[in-house]
Symmetry: C2
Amino acid sequence: MHLETHKQAVVLLSGGLDSATTLAIARDRGFSCHALSFDYGQRHRFELAAARRVATALGAADHRIVRLDLSAEAGFGHSALTDDIAVPKDRDETGKDIPPTYVPARNTIFLSVALGYAEVLGAFDIFIGVNAVDYSGYPDCRPEFIEAFENMANLATAAAVEGKGTFTIHAPLIRMTKGQIIRTGLGLGVDYGLTHSCYDPQPDGAPCGHCDACLLRRAGFKEADATDPVA
Amino acid sequence: MHLETHKQAVVLLSGGLDSATTLAIARDRGFSCHALSFDYGQRHRFELAAARRVATALGAADHRIVRLDLSAEAGFGHSALTDDIAVPKDRDETGKDIPPTYVPARNTIFLSVALGYAEVLGAFDIFIGVNAVDYSGYPDCRPEFIEAFENMANLATAAAVEGKGTFTIHAPLIRMTKGQIIRTGLGLGVDYGLTHSCYDPQPDGAPCGHCDACLLRRAGFKEADATDPVA
């Protein structure tokens, strides 16, 4: 019988390029990875199918999709990703305004559920693919947010308070450019053809090519001097 | 036309004694209250019906119940409230162990969703009825947790980062005894006959009388020198 000696980690997996790379990094660091995705009413639900493909391809130990309705009908919304608000196209990325694709407290909510799931599993490591360099102006992608969440997590949970371990929120991409992320992922064997980035896909799932996510992805492959298998 | 000048608040409402009192306090402080409850697979689902009654009786502006499955079937569980684990009975409350009714990261998850909801509403005040005196040993009921969450919330959100306001997590009961909570609520007109506390109710919703929640409630009414309309 093979004795499982890997440390366990919970990896937030959206199905996009960044979280796929993050899963590959967590695996490369020797973690047994429990992938966690959210069905939160996002308009780009193709990403959930992509998350399934990525979890399988990158050898996640398991993959759970948690339903949590953050749509306008549920009283949330207020985001171009979950509400009847236009996704901005061909936006100049140099400005650091917070765009309408911001979903209020999304990463806080996702990390909180990941924290509960980690505690149930007996894991103390949580991976999230946030990025503060090429990021689209989201406050919950910054290092100071991740640090504050980690501090809170170690006061919130029985596992930490009883001294069983200390939670670490890993954000391995946080200071990388999109090109560096793609080069890292390609080096770890990530098949980016399985991922989905577009915020506003065509009915058949094809990327729009003009939203922030498409623009960042295109610039990233260019920087990495690589070809996007999806484009 | 009456001009609405009240500040808005999100109030976490479980349907129990503490959160009902918290809602009454928030109203008394002049807030227009948006009550928020969770259907998370808890075995004591009678509390959701209680939450509806309490929200109406105490004049909440509205009441939303968010579904988020933290049950064992969803991969969570590991708590006597959501899993096939016995609810402890007639436990000695003087010990401060964390009991099996602890739900991993529950208050972190609830506060995170409340934070997102507050940001959508344009509210900066969130009320939660946690208590660190008579509490049952839950780490996420302590002042240091609330403070760490508040700090994180002000780094997580566009509303805070853009300088529109500062989020405050109000925990008005945190240093009260159960008797003080009940006296406060009675003074504000709370009808505790509408509330539900028991973790392990009878099929008809009647309290078991022996779980931590029932024991704390009984001791609280005794301390307050009042009669529990539910008992």
